[in-house]
Every structure is written in C-alpha cells, then in structure tokens.
C-alpha cells in the first residue's frame, strides 16, 4: 500500500499544485513514526504502515494555512479534520485528503509492556507479529497489541476523503463505554480513588493538550498568566484534577474520541475516559452525536431544546451513590 500511496503522491506533487504532503517517516526504533510535511524530494522517506498511529490532522492547522497540501488521513483522523474545518481552523479547500486504508495500528508500548524487551525489528505476517529482540525472537498476535483507540474504531469509512487508497477494517471490539460504565457503577469514593491514582501520575508535560486536535486555541488558558490557572506544575492534587477537568470540558462536544490524549500520555493515564463520559452523557441526554461526522455541524453544547433535562438529572441517573 505504501508504494501505491507514494506513486500517487508523486503524480499529485508533480502537478505543482501542492506544497507537500503531511505524512509519516520512519525513525530509529521499529515503532518510531514521525509526522512531517514531505516535499517531492524527500518523498522516498515517507512511510505508511501499521505503526502510523498518530493523528496527522492537527498538523494541517499550521501547514495548510497559506498553502495547499495533501494529507494522509486514516478513517478516524477524518473526524478530527472535519471538526477543525467546522471550527474554521483548517481551510477545507487548502487540503487534498487522501484517505489511507487502516486495519488497526500497533502500539509499541503495549508490546514493551507485555514483557517483550530489546526489540530490534518487527515484521507482520497476517495476524501475527514476529518480533526480533536482543534476547531472541518472539511472536505476538496483532490483535493483542492494537492501540486502545483502535479497539473503539469508528468504522472503516473515510468521512472526508477526496480519494481513498487501500482497504480499511473496523477493528472495534465490544462496547466502547464499558470502562465508563464500570466507573459509573462504582461509589463516588471508589471513582475518586481511581482518578486520584491515575491523575497523580500526571507530570503536566501537556502532551495530551498538544496532541489533541480539538485543543487548537492559539493561546491556551493554561499558558495565559491572566487566567489564574496558569500553573506549570501540579503543586497540589487539586491542580491535577483542575487541569484535566478543564481540558476535558473544554473539548466537550468537539472531541471526536480520537484517543490521541491517551496515546500521547507518557504516564499511561486513560484520559480518553473523561471525554468518553462526556460523549456518553451528550448522546444519552441530547441525542446521538458524533463530532466531526461532517463539516458544519452544530455541537450539542452550543445548542438546546426547550425540553432539555434539568441538571438535577445527574443525581437521578443510575450508578453508585
């Protein structure tokens, strides 16, 4: 598929209409895939395979501002792209979207955390990953090491592609709200303990914010000394909570559930659960809504009906008391 993509890109770039293509290149370790804007001359470094898990749509804000570019987007990245077009952060006409086929992306961290160490090479054979390590060869099923976001795959359709190259597969398994429901069923004390444990790992590196396609403010409240919440470090438990509540709430209704926050987090905090809880609430209270489904949607928190539930509905709904 990579060859097909590169050949097509060569054709498109030769027309001179585009300044380059937003894609991935290989790096040092078998899992390293670094995003960047590739021009005709470094196109041979462009790579697309099972490790290109990162969402490239956010790079279009900076790169498609004053020039036309081509973007390689996986089905899930298309939602973020549409959402940013809706918010006028990206000019749709400046981007030629090539939808690239995706059968789920592999999480290097999951392989490492699974106890396979010293990985020097990975090759795919159907559903099996053959892993060369400093300590001998190992095998692992591809399905077991997919990125978390692939397990809640939104489907194989590219929602915004100008053309599609390659086949996609829906890799979702089970109910994506399973963990949210599990937490909902706990008592407030248990929930609080769960989040305290997770959030106490936060190092305030801002990776979740900077990776998030919905976090596209030019000046973030957390960088603004006048906001009163500009604290670079979690000097107190409260600040960890504050940061993540504000961040989750700020993308409420706009979050496409792309999972970049959890993928980027160096401490493995399941940040997407906060967003997913909001999505679940919105769906249940205000009707099914998927941010980024199409360009120009009005999201539920900038909308209302006369018959909306009162906020006290939170107290009446199920879950542990």
């Amino acid at each position: 598929m990579q060859e097909m993509i590169v050949n097509r890109l060569r054709e498109l770039l030769a027309s001179g209409d585009y300044a380059g293509v937003i894609g991935w290149s290989k790096g040092e370790t078998p899992f390293d895939r670094t995003p960047g804007l590739f021009t005709e001359k470094d196109l041979d470094r462009l790579c697309y395979d099972s490790f290109c898990g990162s969402n490239l749509s956010k790079y279009l804000i900076a790169n498609a501002k004053d020039k036309k570019v081509i973007a390689l987007l996986k089905p899930c990245d298309c939602y973020s792209f549409n959402q940013m077009c809706t918010e006028h952060r990206i000019q749709r006409e400046n981007v030629y979207v090539i939808g690239v086929g995706c059968k789920g992306k592999i999480d290097g961290e999951k392989i490492r955390n699974g106890g396979i160490k010293g990985i020097t090479g990975v090759s795919e054979e159907g559903d099996l990953l053959k892993i060369e390590t400093l300590y001998g060869e190992k095998e692992i099923s591809r399905k077991d090491v997919l990125l978390d976001k692939c397990l809640s795959c939104k489907g194989k359709e590219h929602k915004c592609a100008d053309e599609v190259i390659g086949e996609s597969e829906d890799t979702s398994v089970g109910n994506k709200y399973e963990l949210v429901e599990k937490l909902d069923a706990m008592t407030p004390e248990e929930r609080f303990e769960f989040w305290r444990g997770e959030l106490s790992k936060c190092i305030r590196c801002n990776a979740c914010r900077n990776a998030c396609p919905a976090c596209s403010c030019i000046k973030c409240v957390f960088d603004n000394p006048k906001s009163g919440v500009e604290n670079k470090a979690a000097a107190d438990d409260f600040e960890e909570n504050l940061f993540h509540i504000i961040r989750a709430y700020h993308v409420a209704g706009r979050c496409t559930d792309c999972g970049e926050c959890s993928r980027a987090c160096p401490q493995g905090i399941p940040l997407h659960l906060l967003n997913r809880k909001i999505i679940k609430d919105i769906n249940e209270l205000y009707g099914d809504y998927q941010a980024g489904e199409e360009i120009g949607q009005r999201h539920p928190l900038t909308d209302f009906t006369f018959e909306d539930d009162e906020p006290s509905v939170v107290e009446r709904r199920g879950g542990g008391k």
């Binding site: 909902d184 407030p188 409240v221 438990d237 409260f238 609430d281 919105i282 909306d308 539930d309 009162e310």
Partner: protein, 145 residues
Amino acid sequence: MSVNKEWTPNIVAFCCNWCSYAGADLAGSGRMNYPANVKIIRIPCSCRLNPMFVLRAFQRGADGVILCGCHPGDCHYSTGNYYARRRMTVLFSLLDFMGIERGRTRVEWVSAAEGAKFAATMNDFVKTVTELGENKKLGDLRCKK
C-alpha cells in the same frame, strides 16, 4: 469523617442579575432567613457562569456551588439559561464521574418574585452540603486554613 460542630459549609451562589439576585433581595427585604455562609456572586446571566468559576470556587475552599438563574423561557437574553442548563448538566456529571459528591453542585431557577423560594433553596442546599461535610476532594490544600 468527624464533622466539627463549629464547622459550617462555605457556599458560593452564582446569581443571575435579572432574577435570582433580585430574588435574594426580596428574601432579604421580606426578612426570610437563609444561612449567612452563602456568598452570593452576581453574574449578568446564568450562562455567564464559566465552568472554571465553579472549579475556582472549589479551589478556594467552597464546599458547595449553586447556580441560580431565570426560569427556562424567562431569560432576559431569551435563551442564555438554556445553554447554561446543558453546560452545567455536563459539567456536574463530569464532576460526579470524578468522584465529587453530587450534592455539592446544584442549579435552581429562581425568579425575581420568588424570595421565599430563594431562601428555601439556600436552606435546603446548605443542609445537603452540611450533611456531606467538608469538601476534601476538590480544594487546594494551600488555601485551607
């Protein structure tokens, strides 16, 4: 949790200028009692309540936060409270999801004529929060006395 007998909760009430704030006035001039530990902050409309204000109140030592605005349909700006209603619902649900007791946050619609309702609401809210005890989950330790 042992509740000190001396302890009374800190309540922050955000009140819409056009209704609940006047409602509070009416409660006052009508000599209706409501606890003195309710601190009223006047806002131009219930939808002015930035969710960050709620968190900020908790940070600075509030034990409960209540938003009072015009009854749905009566908003001075016609639709502000409808937006506020959705926003607060989602916020309160998120706080609940993080393990913050549900009773610490509330929204009530109180019109300018409902002085009695204002007093009753505050009495009830203070009672609920008093039962919940001190807010230990969502405050900044450096602000604690």
